[in-house]
């Protein structure tokens, strides 16, 4: 029983981790007042770049770094178009996703069908062998721990640092931030590229740890779920974590329920993660003031420094 529970929890964690990375990155981007719908595309480019780097160097650290850089470069492109050239953010974000899907397929042509060793899992003597908490808490690969550190780090940065305050101010009122002498465009570039790097990291998690291979479109919509999670979490990092684990948990549980022979149609079970998300969204939105307090007021708005 305990073994089954541990097995379920381990899978929940791995299913949630890519969502945690991508949603935390997007949260920072949105907090700075930019809506980047290109998460899916950045994830895919990160996944294929990380995979290619892992094949070429055999070094997971380099692979992860390359994936982050690739995601950040994609985000930089988005920044050039939306921040410097002031293109519409929604349209540009959608275009970025399509571009990412195509570009990753092109880069990945020669990697289809190539297997790779999964990232090593943590193995601490004694601790990793404990029942239940051993495999769940002490037996994951290091990216899982990194994702938790990132959430804590982003929460601390936004809440308790001056730089975080400035970033939030830019998202709340870019005119005021500009009047105070802050470089709105510069700050937004940084936030967008951070979001891109995190999406790249999410992609690397997919192609190096979750399903260690490259296949076209392997993110299969997880970028869009990450986007929804940011709203779900009302722009709070801690809730991103809760949302991602809830989503991952329901996804895995419904697979187990099917295997155990629950007499519920599988289509309904497949709907569950999405239903759960909607229900929580509805519950949260009953308190609309709180949402308005958390949502960046300038999200998606183009900033003209001259006006």
């Amino acid at each position: 029983m305990i073994e089954t529970l541990a097995a379920i929890l381990v899978t929940v964690v791995t299913a949630a981790t890519p969502l945690v990375f991508a949603a935390t990155g997007e949260l920072v981007t949105e907090k700075a007042g930019v809506l980047n719908l290109g998460v899916e595309g950045m994830m895919l480019v990160g996944a294929v770049s990380g995979f290619a780097a892992a094949i070429a160097t055999g070094n997971p650290a380099i692979a992860i770094l390359v994936a982050m850089i690739a995601g950040a470069v994609m985000a930089f492109l988005f920044g050039v178009l939306t921040l410097s050239l002031m293109a519409n953010q929604v349209a540009t974000g959608l275009a970025l996703t399509m571009f990412g899907v195509g570009l990753s397929a092109l880069i990945g042509q020669d990697y289809v069908g190539t297997p790779i060793k999964a990232l090593a899992k943590l193995d601490i003597p004694v601790l990793s062998d404990l029942p239940l908490i051993g495999p769940v808490v002490f037996g994951q690969d290091f990216l899982v721990y990194l994702s938790l550190v990132m959430v804590a780090g982003v929460a601390w940065f936004l809440k308790s640092t001056r730089a975080g305050l400035i970033l939030r101010a830019t998202g709340e009122s870019h005119d005021a931030a500009h009047a105070l002498g802050y470089s709105v465009i510069g700050i937004r570039y940084l936030a967008v590229m951070f979001g891109g790097a995190m999406s790249g990291l999410a992609g690397a998690y997919l192609s190096l740890a979750y399903t260690p291979m490259w296949a076209e479109n392997m993110s299969a919509g997880r970028g869009w779920i990450a986007l929804a999670l940011v709203v779900f979490a009302t722009w709070k990092p801690g809730r991103v974590l809760v949302g991602a684990y809830l989503f991952g948990g329901v996804t895995i549980l419904q697979l187990h329920a099917q295997g155990a022979g629950f007499a519920v149609p599988s289509q309904a079970l497949s709907m569950l993660p999405y239903l759960a998300t909607i229900v929580v969204l509805v519950v949260i939105s009953r308190d609309s003031t709180r949402i308005r307090l958390n949502a960046p007021a300038c999200i998606g708005k183009v900033f003209h420094p001259e006006t």
Binding site: G113, A118, A215, E216, A220, Q258
Partner: protein, 358 residues
């Protein structure tokens, strides 16, 4: 109206003139419409291998082109029409959902030949073709029945449609014939292709005691999971050995190469005619990958004997008596299931756990 007819006639005549005039120099143009990316290492990947086989067989006498990741719907019609109107002589539409768009466009281009995979609507210039993948499931069932220790087999299904249900049933019948205690647990992922979810489904099934994983989805993720967890698995569409050298019992490989080359040749010779092909192991449309070395020789022999018997027609995967889950006789003793029944199968045989979602 009359003007329209003249226009059509004119266009047809012009088209014919072009074809005739250029018959010696112009290569035969073959177009493909794919539902997924050619890099999926599964369904579409295998169709594209078929396209490459055409190129290899006829060299510069053919010109092939393809459009990948075409959604099943309005887009498909546009893509098919685009191929038809740009001088393609033969067009393969390789997913069930392209059926209606293919038939519709075919009416407007009577001189173009169409080949639709896995469908059932035909006309003078539309053929259909599919493979009897369930025959391969029989072989997989024998291997699973002999190799399982827990007597629990995990089966990852895409969608609960006849094609997939037929595979589950053929597998279960074959397995239970030699191992009546073994049962099949089915998990539907409601997707043809989502590596993450397929892998998670495999993990869930293994956690529930399955020691052999069978998949009817397209990514090699379940094979990787099986390798990691030290259980066996049966691959799908492509040879998946490299994703789980120890886990890989065998794979059921789609092989469209022969059919594609043959149909292209028929168009070149002018002998093409509309028909329906549902090819089994004996046609080479599907074949088995190499067997795992861990399988004892006598089991391999048993599997090979079954394969030969199916090819020779002496073994039918759905030979009666076949009972459904409630014990109702679906195929009588001495009879075999007709193709019509196979094509509309919406019930589980005994030995499959759970209820089929409808």
């Amino acid at each position: 109206m009359i003007q329209g007819v003249f226009k059509t006639l004119g266009a047809a005549a012009l088209g014919m003139a072009v074809t005739l005039g250029a018959a010696s120099a112009e290569p035969t143009k073959v177009g493909f419409v794919y539902v997924g990316p050619i890099g999926d290492h599964g369904w579409t990947y295998r169709h594209d291998k078929g396209r490459l086989a055409i190129e290899e067989a006829f060299g510069d006498k053919v010109e092939t082109s393809y459009v990948e990741s075409v959604p099943e719907g309005a887009d498909a019609e546009r893509v098919i029409r685009q191929l038809a109107s740009t001088g393609h002589d033969l067009i393969f539409t390789t997913s069930f959902g392209y059926m209606n768009p293919t038939v519709k466009v075919a009416k407007q281009f009577p001189n173009v030949k169409f080949e639709h995979a896995t469908g059932y609507k035909r006309s003078d210039n539309v053929s259909t073709y599919a493979a009897r993948f369930y025959e391969g499931r029989v072989i997989a069932g024998i291997l699973a029945g002999r190799m399982t220790k827990s007597n629990v087999i995990g089966y990852i299904g895409s969608f609960p449609i006849p094609e997939v249900v037929r595979g589950i049933n053929a597998f279960t019948l074959s397995m239970r014939k030699i191992n009546p205690d073994a049962e099949v647990k089915v998990v539907w992922v409601n997707s043809w292709y989502d590596p993450g979810k397929e892998g998670d489904a495999a993990k869930a099934l293994i956690d529930q005691g399955a020691d052999i994983i069978v998949q009817h989805t397209d990514s090699p993720a379940p094979m990787q999971v099986a390798q990691e967890r030290g259980v066996f698995a049966v691959g799908q569409a492509s040879d998946m050995t490299q994703f789980g050298p120890k886990a890989h019992l065998t794979s059921i490989i789609d092989d469209w190469n022969g059919y594609y080359v043959e149909r292209t040749k028929a168009v070149m010779d002018g002998t093409w005619s509309s028909g329906d092909t549902w090819g089994g192991l004996n046609t080479g449309m599907l074949r088995m990958a190499t067997y795992n070395e861990a399988i004892p020789a006598e089991v391999v022999e048993e599997a090979e004997a079954a394969r030969k018997a199916i090819e020779a027609g002496s073994l039918h995967p759905f030979a009666g008596p076949v009972l459904d889950q409630d014990g109702k006789e679906m195929v009588a003793a001495g009879a075999v299931a007709e193709d019509g029944m196979l094509l509309s199968m919406d019930w589980y045989v005994q030995g499959v756990q759970g209820k089929l979602p409808k």
